[in-house]
């Protein structure tokens, strides 16, 4: 009796096999939905980060020179600046940095910012720009006569190194990146030693029969599930308000400490797993040679567990890097244009900027929010790639 005969005889079996196939298809489709969502998410963000824009210039570039501005030499550019700028404005700029010391690109940017002053009237998404060019040209000629249509990528070098600004055309994210960097540094300095210390204590010293140790362990597990905004409330109450004299309120240090508390439970759990993976024979060999407990940990357990600990740390850092909610409470302000310079500077960070720009109704702010998101995601991917490389590299050696 072959399979085929059996199938023919039993409609019941046929139905069961058909159900099996349908079930499999449903499970497979559900799994691919994650993939589809990821692709749609990324495409929709790229879609909004570049595209055609209708621009109007305060001064037409063509009236400044016969050649296109991009082709001009430094001397010609500074000549334009000295001719066209108001003397008072020129003096202010000269006082900061004399024109002669500026590079060609800096001069070009100055000309654009001070004289040409492009104002984006309307921006279009990438898909519209590619497939509906005629319609865009029609809108431009009907609603914005005399304006220019150009292609603009909202992610560009000026966007990365420029300081924050109220107008999206010239806004950059340097201040926010610096803010993120300061906070991450404080977070690492505070959370890493405490987190690893706690993990060592729980794995190497604490006996599970002791009540206090069990409480600590359960407590850490539960803290890992507390919503991040609750840490924000804690940070606001303790670091910003109660310790306000030490931290001077809504500053980098308050934010860094809040973030440290936020990632501590995750960091501890990751480090615990890394330490638990160290084979016991290593410890016993070390004790057998007469080493004390700390010598064993310091010379044998930690070096073995280090790659795992570092990987876990980088992963928790990348979580802190993308975290927004607690920093809203601790008081990242969106309207500063001075880079943080000390522990007591006011600050803003990349996710906060994305939040603020997204919550504005104008399209151009959505564009720069998309551009900032791309930078954020690229940074996170880099961090994670480093973590994976680290893990692979060291796991081969050990």
């Amino acid at each position: 009796m072959t399979d085929n005969d059996l199938m023919q005889r039993s409609p019941h079996l046929i139905r069961r096999h058909r159900n099996g196939k349908i079930g499999r298809a449903i499970f497979f489709l559900s799994t691919t939905i994650g993939l589809v969502a990821l692709i749609v998410l990324i495409l929709s963000i790229i879609n909004q980060s570049m595209g055609l824009v209708i621009v109007r210039y305060t001064v037409e570039p063509a009236t400044l020179s016969d050649k296109p501005l991009e082709d001009l030499e430094s001397t010609e550019l500074s000549a334009i600046l000295t001719q066209r700028l108001k003397p008072s404005r020129l003096r202010t700029i000269e006082r900061d940095t004399p024109l002669a010391t500026l590079s060609r690109t800096q001069l070009y940017n100055l000309v654009m910012e001070e004289i040409v002053v492009p104002k984006v009237q309307k921006s279009f998404h990438l898909d519209e720009s590619l497939f509906q060019r005629a319609k865009i040209e029609q809108i431009a000629s009907e609603e914005y006569p005399g304006a220019h249509i150009t292609f603009r990528s909202w992610i560009n070098w000026n966007f990365i190194v420029g300081s924050l600004s109220k107008s999206p055309e010239i806004a950059g994210i340097r201040t926010a990146l610096m803010g993120s960097l300061w906070i991450i540094l404080i977070t690492i300095v505070v959370a890493f030693p405490i987190g690893v210390g706690a993990a060592i204590y729980l794995e190497e010293y604490a006996s599970s029969s002791s009540r206090i140790n069990r409480i600590i362990q359960t407590n850490i597990d539960n803290l890992a599930g507390v919503p991040s905004i609750v840490y924000g409330i804690l940070g606001l109450a303790i670091f910003v308000r109660s310790l306000g004299d030490l931290t001077q309120g809504r500053t980098v240090i308050s934010a860094g400490l809040t973030m440290a508390l936020l990632i501590l439970p995750i960091l501890i759990i990751n480090a615990q797993e890394a330490i638990r993976a160290v084979p016991n024979s290593l410890r016993q060999a070390s004790y057998g040679l007469g080493a004390t407990q700390w010598q064993t940990i310091w010379h044998h357990v930690l070096p073995y567990a280090l790659p795992g600990i570092l990987t876990g740390t980088i992963l928790s850092i990348s979580r802190a890097f993308g975290e927004t909610a607690p920093l809203i409470l601790v008081g990242a302000s969106s309207f500063i244009n001075k880079d943080p310079s000390s522990l007591f500077s006011r600050f803003t960070v990349l996710p906060i900027q994305i939040y603020n720009w997204t919550s504005r109704p104008q399209d151009t702010f959505r564009n720069i929010a998309a551009a900032a998101i791309i930078i954020l995601i690229l940074t996170l991917l880099t961090l994670n790639a480093v973590a994976i490389l680290l893990r692979n590299r060291f796991s081969k050696r050990v």
Binding site: G34, G225, V230, L289, T292, A325, I328, Y355, T358, A369
Partner: protein, 326 residues
């Protein structure tokens, strides 16, 4: 560093191995000697562990203290807070239900997306997928889990809402609505449900599956009638943790669900959740010790209590499936 360990110390060199009396004296000596360095280190490490306890105490103390101040304000009383359907601090109405209701709506929508899809994906990955397919699909879910929530908020507001408005009409769907926020939140939580459920499914011993096949069950029947029931406590733990995550999620709802408390059961209307309210109030410049400021803490305390209870429940359940099979 390791070489140092093998180098005999001065003390051991001085004693010949045959000198039993001397060496036993040394052992006694070693035992008695207080190792202050070791003690100090152990104390420091214990302190590191205790920081987590301090954090919890800090949360409970601060939330409790400020909430107490909030409930001492003349316009506020606890019963009204928990049962009132209006939240309008300007006219002294402090009923938390509109905020709780909006939180429940976004959570419900998110769970309708994340739970079935997450479980189905987990079944596929643990029961059907070839190692190659797993190696490709799992990292994708991990990337999805690693994307910051503010990005999901952006996605909900600039992609999901316009999409819903095109499909269902812009008069039914408001620009800010809980449905779009919930949908995107579901996508965000899907990887969590999937990976936790998959762990639970993988913990089911191979023998159970073999037995089912031996009885002539198809793969689907084995998966649904043997493996899933065996892993049920773990799967429910995943579901509960997902709910807790959805309740505490802030950025998606702050961007896409709308600002301004609104007691409505229509998912296409704007309504502010508990987390959204906290974010909006604290984002503005609120003076300390005003009822607005204190209300953040009262709502925070409610949020903390709900999520903590859910987390503890989830942990209890997942501990149970570990006990059975390991």
């Amino acid at each position: 560093m390791e070489q140092e360990m093998f180098r005999p110390t001065q003390q051991t060199q001085a004693i010949s191995p045959f000198d039993v009396h001397a060496s036993s004296a040394l052992i006694a000596n070693l035992r008695k000697r207080p190792r202050w360095g070791e003690r100090f280190i152990q104390g420091f490490l214990f302190f590191c562990g205790a920081v987590s306890i301090l954090t919890t105490l800090g949360i409970v103390f601060e939330l409790g203290k400020e909430s107490l101040l909030f409930f001492q304000t003349p316009e506020v009383n606890l019963i009204e807070f928990l049962t009132g359907t209006k939240w309008q601090p300007t006219i002294g109405e402090f009923g938390v239900l509109p905020l709780v209701n909006a939180t429940l709506m976004t959570t419900l929508v998110a769970m309708l997306v994340a739970l079935p899809l997450g479980l189905a994906a987990a079944i596929y990955l643990s029961e059907y997928a070839s190692p190659k397919a797993r190696g490709f699909l799992k990292p994708i879910l991990e990337i999805l889990a690693g994307i910051p929530t503010v990005v999901y908020g952006y996605f909900a507001l600039t992609f999901m809402t316009p999409l819903l408005r095109t499909i269902l009409g812009s008069e039914t769907v408001q620009i800010y609505n809980t449905f779009s926020a919930g949908l995107v939140m579901g996508i965000m939580i899907l990887p969590l449900v999937c990976s936790m459920s998959e762990d639970a499914l993988n913990a089911v011993p191979r023998a159970l599956r073999e037995a089912a096949y031996g009885m002539g069950a198809t793969k689907l029947e084995t998966a649904l009638q043997v493996v899933v029931p065996a892993a049920l406590s773990g799967i429910i733990a995943a579901f509960i943790l997902a709910i807790s995550r959805a309740v505490g999620e802030t950025m998606i709802v702050a961007l896409a669900a709308g600002s301004g408390p609104n007691f409505t059961f229509n998912p296409f209307k704007a309504a502010e959740t508990m987390t959204g309210y906290i974010a909006r109030i604290s984002g503005g410049d609120v003076g300390y010790d005003t009822p607005d400021y204190n209300s953040i803490f009262a709502i925070g305390l409610l949020l903390f209590t709900i999520t903590l209870a859910l987390n503890i429940l989830s942990r209890k359940l997942s501990a149970r499936f570990r006990e059975v099979y390991e």
